[in-house]
Symmetry: D2
Subunit: 354 residues, 4 copies
Amino acid sequence: MQRIGILTGGGDCPGLNAVIRAAARTLIRDYDIDVVGIQLGFEGLLTKSCVALTLESIRGILPKGGTLLRTTNRGNPFEFPVGDGRCEDRSSTLIDNIHELGIDGVIAIGGDGTLKIAQRLCDMGIPMVAVPKTIDNDLAATDYTFGFHTAVAVATEAVDRLHTTAASHDRVMILEVMGRNAGWIALYAGIAGGADIILIPEIPYQPENIVKMVQGREREGANFDIIVVAEGAKRVGGQEAYLDKATRRLGGIAYQVAADIAEQIDLEIRVTVLGHVQRGGSPIAFDRILASRFGKAAADLVAQKKFGEMVAVRGDDIVSVPIRDAVSRPKYVDPDGNLVATARSLGISFGDGR
Amino acid sequence: MQRIGILTGGGDCPGLNAVIRAAARTLIRDYDIDVVGIQLGFEGLLTKSCVALTLESIRGILPKGGTLLRTTNRGNPFEFPVGDGRCEDRSSTLIDNIHELGIDGVIAIGGDGTLKIAQRLCDMGIPMVAVPKTIDNDLAATDYTFGFHTAVAVATEAVDRLHTTAASHDRVMILEVMGRNAGWIALYAGIAGGADIILIPEIPYQPENIVKMVQGREREGANFDIIVVAEGAKRVGGQEAYLDKATRRLGGIAYQVAADIAEQIDLEIRVTVLGHVQRGGSPIAFDRILASRFGKAAADLVAQKKFGEMVAVRGDDIVSVPIRDAVSRPKYVDPDGNLVATARSLGISFGDGR
Amino acid sequence: MQRIGILTGGGDCPGLNAVIRAAARTLIRDYDIDVVGIQLGFEGLLTKSCVALTLESIRGILPKGGTLLRTTNRGNPFEFPVGDGRCEDRSSTLIDNIHELGIDGVIAIGGDGTLKIAQRLCDMGIPMVAVPKTIDNDLAATDYTFGFHTAVAVATEAVDRLHTTAASHDRVMILEVMGRNAGWIALYAGIAGGADIILIPEIPYQPENIVKMVQGREREGANFDIIVVAEGAKRVGGQEAYLDKATRRLGGIAYQVAADIAEQIDLEIRVTVLGHVQRGGSPIAFDRILASRFGKAAADLVAQKKFGEMVAVRGDDIVSVPIRDAVSRPKYVDPDGNLVATARSLGISFGDGR
Amino acid sequence: MQRIGILTGGGDCPGLNAVIRAAARTLIRDYDIDVVGIQLGFEGLLTKSCVALTLESIRGILPKGGTLLRTTNRGNPFEFPVGDGRCEDRSSTLIDNIHELGIDGVIAIGGDGTLKIAQRLCDMGIPMVAVPKTIDNDLAATDYTFGFHTAVAVATEAVDRLHTTAASHDRVMILEVMGRNAGWIALYAGIAGGADIILIPEIPYQPENIVKMVQGREREGANFDIIVVAEGAKRVGGQEAYLDKATRRLGGIAYQVAADIAEQIDLEIRVTVLGHVQRGGSPIAFDRILASRFGKAAADLVAQKKFGEMVAVRGDDIVSVPIRDAVSRPKYVDPDGNLVATARSLGISFGDGR
């Protein structure tokens, strides 16, 4: 190995820079390998947008959000958009470019889409090592992904702030957080913030159960409610169309929930849609350490020529698993698991009538 | 003076508890006056919902958001809602109750509505002292109101977080903050966070100017934009009806702005609606000090029998002004003032084509 | 089981209230068991200082630092101080009191000292369940203890702040953090903050190695250094006596390190001693969730009559282990483990010349 | 004016980068003037260490602590150190260099030392504009200096964290903050955090008064105390020599206070020395705005050729004052002023027996 490329793909996630830094430092310092930053994800391999990563050029990036290498959702080389909604396979160009650039292997940091591309390229002979990235924490192969706990911290701080107002002013506060398919952020932030109701994709809700919970609490003297709702939360029987399409595309399920219950409750309702505030900014210490360990481990895998592998964390150990296995196993909240049970014991309702 | 009541009225604002604590401590310690907390604003004087405030009972409230005394928007004694949308004047009941409760004067902490009621009661012979409260900072009689800088801090942190993602991922990020009539929070948070575009009620915007700004920045190589929009921002010629009424009532002007520009720009747009996260939670140090000084000053006014006065800050001095004068003078952002000029020099657009 | 007591022992740790809340809620809601809060640790069982814990009385404590039940280091019933430096065994009084109070079992939340007392009482027939508490994370039986990640977050924020000044102003910044026997906080915060040198009890340092590191970095153009030192860090060959005793008792190893290197380096040195700032304040989301899960699990153990057990976390699972096993196995930083190796790959020196 | 230099001098202060950015942006965008960054304060004018500041090169620095231009305390051109403790006047070299570099004027951002040099250079014909910088806020010419409120925020967060532990665990917590000559940070953070005792240079303390306060609070049932002490706090009759010189040079008055009272009180004492954590890191929104307004105003002064002036804030207005006047007037805490009176009404002791 003489020269390794690093790329980041998909949406933002706090800790990307920490992975890049740790991988590059380890490759340079421990293995004397040149490191090249590939910009804009796999697209940078099609356009040969690269930049040398040196100890100097990566200085100071550890605490920073975003990614030094920038990224995009457009760069799938197997289905590269060429206008008019058409796509074509440019993987052979990509492979040619890798050789031309003298890149002997690639560390790909990304989510489901990126991992799948990495696996296909690996099958075609490109030495790939992967680092999983999903703010949603929905990957079975690893206990946690970096960035997730930062998103939870941001969402929890929002719940904390809503709490004091709700309690003083008799309000129902609805907080919409990320989680299109998996409700981990909502579940964690809801427990950590002491929410009253948590709505997640894995447990469809019925508006009447929310109303019952609100009314029950009123009877007990608690004239306020905090509802944390994942953007992918669904009513039993499927999401009805209250929101116009444009609003829905930008988030806004919280407005749906508000509409669902507004007529049956007396309390005033207020909505917060956190959006990308959860994805940006400086990672918390936990995520910086996890990301640094992932970066170091990815560099070690490269040096040991263990390609086709993805780094992961199990308990306090950093391990590796075949990328192939990882991409096929999403991790959803288990409605009968310990975490949901803990939430229920704390008095939290999931809007499912239990 | 033997017994003084304290009440809080209107929406939430970080620092209410700090005012209560400082006023109560000063009355008890310096003047040996009993202090009674009136719950739920003026409504508590109609229902005689009071609680003794002692050095012990107010311990630990300084850093807390919300108000120990709870509050509501319903308690106008001059127009008290009696069902069927009808109201009646219950001010004489209120005045009787004050006498029955042995209350010799009232410190009212609240916004425009609360101040107006306080003034009328003062005119009717009830000794009142006022402490201004508005998260929006839109009161001419005082340089600053407590809570405002906390709201700005929360909004600025959100801008900071959006910044890293926007820059790495080529996004337009729209952040909706509070400010129905005055754009102070948007202006401060926009400058502090380094926004590219700020939209406020005082400077109506034209969508084409936003689009021009976005395109101009793209030409200069900046493929992202941060837009901070006050909830009361308006298009030139008035707000058009994109949003259905229910959504608008809960906030959501950010979606309007997104719709205004979505078709003319290439970048993906993402929306955050901060909502009541700005009103709740622990006040920052600045606001705790200002609130403490206001509370102490209000107690001093009571002891000096300077009724009909409201506390205020000018530079580093705590002063008092007649409540009467204060309620009549809102403070809007001056489109030709130094702060807007500073923003323009920094390269910020207000969507007005200048 | 009809009535369960809960107590907290030893030093402060963010998350104690979250454990209390979760245990009490679970006992009351799921098992219909009365809950009694025992004040001041085991001492409260000698003085019968108890208070009923109800859903109402524990409201709002989740995000709060400290412990609702207050605590102390004095309450060992087997060696109770009776003046003149003498102690006596009051365990039979304690056991009598437990029966008189109608307490059928006790959940003890505490560190090494508390766990040992709990084990002895268990051996004497008192039904005990334990929840481990150590800010230092030095317990082998569990992957993590609550509070630790909050301490790391506080220390990391300090490193972040020191970084910008150090880099702009050519300074050596020494930050002293907690960790008398184990260096986990220093190691985590040092990695997360991007420290240059980390000094921990497990890896004795030699001042000349620190000087070499500083000089080496100067040659590479980095005119600043961040040193994170655990309070229990030691020189090779043992700690020499620079500090007078009074200072050392209050912390202050950072001054020792400063003295060790001051004469051989040109850069100015500045010291921060974080102290109890690391132990107090609101727990971060991670710790609130872990603490809540621990509390719930402890309540379940009580209901299942699994006494003599301590809750723990392994990976993402909450498990239980015999208290007996837990107290005998401290967890130190492994100088040859993955985390130290990651730090070394990142370029961090431990002052040991490697 | 064709080319303007900007330099930063003295210790670190959050907001330096925001001033640089605002001044440079205004000069470039509004006045079409070239901007040169002078590195390491006035020393950079002796060594001609300069770098062009462009819209591109200053991107992203707004939220960052430290200074892009780096700085030092060594660069006084009138007394430049030449080894062996000797100094010589190199001001004529500096002036020659300014001409050679084609610099038509200089914006100097700095504290007392920097301002005095700026004034002397101005007297010698160099067009200078000044921006005041002192974390300690001890300048009479301006209501506030940037950075001060950030330092207060950091110190207040520390007090908040100490509070929960102190209250749960019966401790005296001593927090040492900055303030060698003026006690503003201690006073603000002490009020904002709800301290019990504040010790500042302006009000000499007597240990027996601290002891009395601690004992008085114990009698009232408050078994804990928070003491905030400015590094320049003094005993009545002058500081006695408990601390060895090396410790004192690095801070550590908190240990002195601990020693002063340790024998007379029962409670355990714990010490935190915040140090440079107060000077570094991202400025809070308030300081970013003040710094941005200062930078913009300094650029306007340059364009208007108002040299020899320093920017300042009065109430909500940005004004300018002669540098000459500013350097001669420090601002100390007034022991009889409103802020100290507020603190006393809140129950805070200054250790002076009142």
